[in-house]
């Protein structure tokens, strides 16, 4: 027996749009089965994961809090993935953005510096992420080294560097030896919205990133350039679009947005430096980007869905004693299903049993 793919004459636009939804449903079904195999009730899990968070205000706010970094990072990644450039080190760029931004927060600690600080921190965050993202980009352009591997290894390096800072030079001397820095001054804290104390200005940054990207990808020559580079690199060269410059630009953009997400998370949420500042946002955002079909509005929706599942996962850990790893596994499952669904939009599946001729 084998599977044959038969190209569809004209893939339907609605099928393309619905593919991620179908992939999500299939993933839910498989996850439900796993939960049932673990001896828990899939119905209860459904309630905890998907229904309950949508019905109370605290969870809804939490959803925006978690969706903020996911959307910011995934929007950046969509620039890379559209150009068929594989930045999988957003987690590291997130950390380095947070580090560079936080350096200023710690440097002006208790100096009474003004409101400019937080904005300078945001810029430094973007700069830190972009510069860190430019390392794999330069290595690819200059030496032809696979950006997949280098960007990933730099994640480990960034995490270790942050760990070193939190336990070493940036540790609060009056912190009873806990691996954490001093709490940021008010001037170094990102304002919160709606008086919630949780949802911070980063959510607005994410929304702006989505809207700007809608225009950039849909209307500008740069957006066109990314589409061409991703689909036909030789045609991009024919058009005069340098592949090297494209690589550097998209890594700078995605690194910058990941860095912004990092400093926003630290200054808006955590408000100090600790050894681990991300539950893997940089990796989850890869799933978000593909679940959103690399489309900015799709990413906005996908980011909210994935945030919902992250919160559901935390609740399920407490209420159903379901391990948090289930959420991680689920992300991998969704990504696999989304990628497969893409193929099924383009091709029809034909199962051929041995020797049979159609």
């Amino acid at each position: 027996m084998r599977i044959e793919l038969v190209p569809r004459p004209a893939p339907k636009a609605w099928a393309r749009a619905l593919a991620p939804v179908a992939a999500l449903l299939v993933s839910f079904a498989i996850a439900g089965l796993v939960i049932w195999l673990l001896g828990r009730s899939p119905v209860a899990a459904f309630n905890v994961y998907l229904r309950d968070p949508l019905t109370d205000a605290w969870s809804l706010r939490e959803m925006i809090v978690k969706a903020t970094p996911l959307i910011l990072i995934a929007i950046g990644l969509s620039y890379c993935f559209r150009a068929n450039i594989w930045n999988i080190g957003a987690e590291g760029q997130f950390v380095m953005g947070a580090v560079l931004g936080s350096w200023l927060a710690l440097a002006i600690h208790e100096t009474g510096a003004g409101a400019w600080v937080i904005w300078a921190m945001m810029l430094l965050g973007i700069l830190g992420g972009a510069l860190y993202g430019l390392i794999p980009a330069m290595l690819k352009v200059r030496f032809g080294v696979s950006e997949i591997l280098t960007s990933l290894f730099l994640v480990y390096v960034a995490q270790l560097f942050l760990d070193y800072l939190a336990r070493g030079p940036w540790r609060d001397p009056r912190g009873f030896n806990f691996p954490q820095s001093v709490t940021f001054d008010a001037a170094a804290t990102l304002p919160t919205l709606f008086g919630t104390g949780r949802v911070h200005l980063g959510a607005v940054f994410a929304l702006i990133a989505v809207l700007v990207t809608v225009v950039v990808l849909g209307k500008t020559l740069f957006g066109y350039r990314l589409r061409v580079s991703g689909e036909a690199p030789r045609a991009a060269r024919f058009a005069g679009f340098s592949q090297g410059r494209t690589t550097l630009l998209v890594f700078a953009i995605s690194g910058g947005l990941a860095g912004l997400a990092g400093i926003a998370e630290v200054s808006g949420q955590i408000r100090q430096i600790i050894p681990t500042i991300s539950p893997g946002y940089g990796f989850t955002a890869i799933t978000v980007a593909f679940l959103g079909r690399l489309n900015p509005l799709g990413i906005l929706a996908a980011g909210l869905v994935m945030a919902l599942i992250l919160i559901g996962g935390e609740n399920a850990q407490i209420m159903l004693r379901l391990p948090l790893d289930l959420t991680v596994a689920f992300q991998g499952l969704v990504l696999l299903c989304v990628l497969s669904a893409d193929a099924l939009v383009t091709y029809r599946i034909r199962i051929v049993t041995a020797g049979a001729h159609a």
Binding site: R2, I3, E4, L5, P7, V34, L38, W86, I88, L139, F143, G144, V145, S146, I148, L149, T150, L152, F153, L154, Y156, V157, L160, F161, D163, Y164, R167, G168, F283, I286, T287, F290, P323, L324, D325, L326, T327, V328, A329, F330, Q331, G332, L333, L335, L336, L339, S340, D342, A343, L344, Y347, I349
Partner: protein, 305 residues
């Protein structure tokens, strides 16, 4: 055993899982499939082997289960990238995320458990050699097997007809298809072989190297195995050299941490990752355009019928 012998000994054990996983990935890539899910397959191999060994109180069953888990993960990957022609980079990442998550799920009840060390086999006469005798020739069976695996895979690829078929499929899938070679079938088998190797490498980690299981214990070794294949320019012999260099880097930085040179431990922990990046840069820069990847590496193939 002297300290030096002990270091040498641990270098060998640290290198072995890298080598086994890299050889598996090398075979898959020679067939034209880029599977970035090694880390996930390894994690699944590690947890399944450990859980199996505890539950059945048998290291052998544990190892078998580790290999089966790797194979199943690889088969899932094969279905997605070969059956559905999905993007290989994306699917490989997904497999890694899935494997890390699932392994945590399966392993939760086994955190904190320990296994006894497995038997070592002293090779007569050779184990009496000075310095390397005890470090290299009185190791566990995995170590000898991994060396054998390198030789066998090298022989298979360069000297046998199925090996020739596998290389052809990876070199140019359109040509291979028009000659009637079963491109997708060969690729599927190569991917599953890669999964079995990654599973075995994971089993070695949890049953021999650490003898316990912890979440994320693979710690990027699967990724290093992928990098090793590039480093080795897709040749098994060089994968052996590479694995031992990186094994040595890992072990030496651990010893350096213990020796407290005054360098922060995090900097030393970053050494294997930085070394990998630097090795890739040096190789790519020096290699220029002479030795390339298999011609069809990473490209989806949909045969026209």
């Amino acid at each position: 055993m002297t300290t030096f012998e002990a270091i040498l000994f641990t270098i060998v054990t640290a290198s072995t899982p890298l080598l086994i996983a890299a050889i598996g990935e090398l075979v898959a890539e020679r067939a034209g499939v880029l599977n970035l899910g090694v880390e996930g397959m390894m994690a699944m191999g590690a947890v399944s082997a450990f859980a199996g060994a505890i539950v059945f109180d048998s290291t052998l069953i544990g190892i078998a289960l580790g290999m089966i888990a790797g194979a199943l993960m690889a088969a899932l990957f094969g279905l997605v990238v070969l059956g559905f022609a999905a993007n290989q980079v994306g699917a490989g990442l997904a497999l890694t995320i899935l494997g890390l998550g699932l392994s945590g799920l399966i392993g939760a009840p086994f955190v904190g458990a320990r296994r006894d060390p497995i038997a070592r086999f002293e090779i007569p006469y050779l184990s009496d050699l000075p310095i390397i005798g005890r470090a290299v020739f009185s190791q566990d069976l995995f170590v000898y097997f991994s060396i054998l695996l390198v030789v066998a895979v090298a022989f298979f690829l360069m000297r046998t007809r199925p090996g020739l078929t596998l290389r052809s499929v990876g070199e140019n899938h359109a040509s291979a298809h028009s000659l009637g070679l079963p491109v997708l079938k060969v690729r599927f088998l190569a991917v599953v072989f890669g999964g079995v190797c990654a599973g075995l490498a994971g089993a070695y980690l949890s049953l021999v190297y650490t003898r316990f299981w912890a979440p994320n214990m693979t710690a990027g070794r699967g990724w290093i195995a992928v990098a090793l294949v590039v480093f080795a320019a897709w040749r098994p012999g060089w994968a052996l050299v590479g694995a031992y260099i990186f094994g040595a880097a890992t072990v030496l930085q651990l010893h350096a941490q213990a020796a407290q040179f005054g360098l922060p431990s995090q900097f030393l922990s970053a050494v294997p990752y930085l070394a990998t990046i630097i090795a890739l840069v040096i190789l790519s820069a020096r290699r220029g355009t002479v030795i390339g990847a298999p011609g069809s590496l990473g490209l989806p193939f949909v045969p026209e019928r």
